[in-house]
């Protein structure tokens, strides 16, 4: 078992991180290389001011018409994304491992709060899943990949929660947790999960077009 642990915590983790980072890196390279062909105007209209205006507006809960139109969804979305990003970064267990490996450490979440945030992420995934089934306009544009993505996102949180609370065996659950986390990381650049990166680009472009060229609001 130590062999498996070692493999998952060692080479696999490296592989996941490398896939994640190089995937994003390659995506960015591709983005910047191809940005001028064949639509030569894309960079031309880019505006830092209006790009940021749009990004900040859309990253503020209830600051746009559509966020206000869907209060429940808005609350869930913001809390979900917040917990999704904060929990793994500030989880004490993760920080301890990083500290051991590279002597880097930072503030960590109280374990109880981390547990709660993990449950929020899991709950949000369930919410999104149910919403995909229940709302006709969402169901219509949903396909299997959307559910798979939800599972990929939820899996590390479910396994992490179980591993921490040591239900169904902490050891194997820890390995499962690492594995699912690695799957998530590696999947980000290569699936529609890369919206977490591309959001900033598509938003900034639309913000620039609306602010600089159209003189109108894009929210």
């Amino acid at each position: 078992m130590n062999v498996i642990y070692q493999f998952v915590a060692g080479p696999l983790a490296w592989a996941a991180f490398i896939l994640f980072l190089s995937g994003i890196f390659l995506r960015m390279i591709q983005l910047f290389v191809k940005v001028n062909q064949p639509e030569k105007f894309l960079l031309h209209y880019f505006s830092l001011r209006y790009g940021l205006r749009s990004i900040i507006r859309w990253l503020t809960p209830f600051a746009t018409t559509n966020w206000r139109k869907h209060p429940v969804f808005t609350v869930v979305t913001f809390i979900f994304h917040g917990c999704l990003l904060i929990t793994p970064v500030f989880l004490s267990g993760h920080v301890v491992l990083i500290d051991e490996a590279w002597s880097l450490s930072w503030w960590t979440l109280p374990d109880g709060l981390a547990d709660l945030m993990t449950l929020i992420v899991i709950g949000s995934c369930v919410f999104f899943g149910i919403r995909r089934i229940v709302r006709p306009e969402v169901r219509f544009v949903t396909d299997a990949s959307d559910f798979i993505l939800l599972v990929i996102v939820a899996a590390p949180f479910i396994t992490g929660f179980l591993a921490y609370n040591q239900w169904f065996g902490a050891t194997w659950m820890t390995i499962a947790h690492m594995l699912s986390g690695q799957i998530l990381l590696a999947a980000i650049p290569f699936t529609r999960l890369n919206h977490i990166i591309l959001f900033f680009f598509s938003r900034a472009y639309m913000g620039s077009e609306f602010g600089k060229v159209r003189h109108a609001r894009d929210w």
Binding site: V3, A163, G169, T174, S180
Partner: protein, 127 residues
């Protein structure tokens, strides 16, 4: 499509790992964690003799090590007369890892290199 098949297979293997999970526990003696002001995890069950027998450890200094001022391990000396916390403060200092990190590194490094013993968080810190 191929991508999603791979993903499904990976998820299934995660589930299989979960199913195979099992935990055995020995009689309970605990490592002293009083030095930690507000320990976040439960104390680690540790039976010194059983551990050493199972691990076939003869050299006390393997765990109860002594380092000189240059950071070199002194081969012939050991420190079983001292508490770990006597040397290792709660936080890292220039030469020594902090107490928690010292425990983690000491135990895990050995468990990993010998391919035996607990390595995952919950294996040492059971709830």
């Amino acid at each position: 499509m191929k991508k999603s098949i791979i993903l499904i297979v990976m998820l299934l293997s995660v589930a299989a790992l979960l199913a195979g999970a099992a935990l055995c526990q020995d009689d309970l003696e605990y490592l002293d964690n009083e030095a930690f002001e507000d320990p976040r995890r439960p104390a680690v069950p540790f039976s010194h003799d059983t551990h050493n027998q199972t691990a076939e450890l003869d050299d006390c200094a393997q765990c109860h090590h002594v380092y000189d001022e240059d950071g070199q391990k002194i081969e012939d000396e050991s420190s079983e007369d001292q508490a770990c916390a006597d040397c290792h403060g709660l936080d890292d200092d220039e030469q020594k890892p902090g107490l928690m990190k010292a425990y983690h590194l000491n135990c895990k490094t050995c468990h990993i290199s010998s391919r035996k013993g607990p390595v995952a968080c919950g294996q040492c810190h059971p709830k």
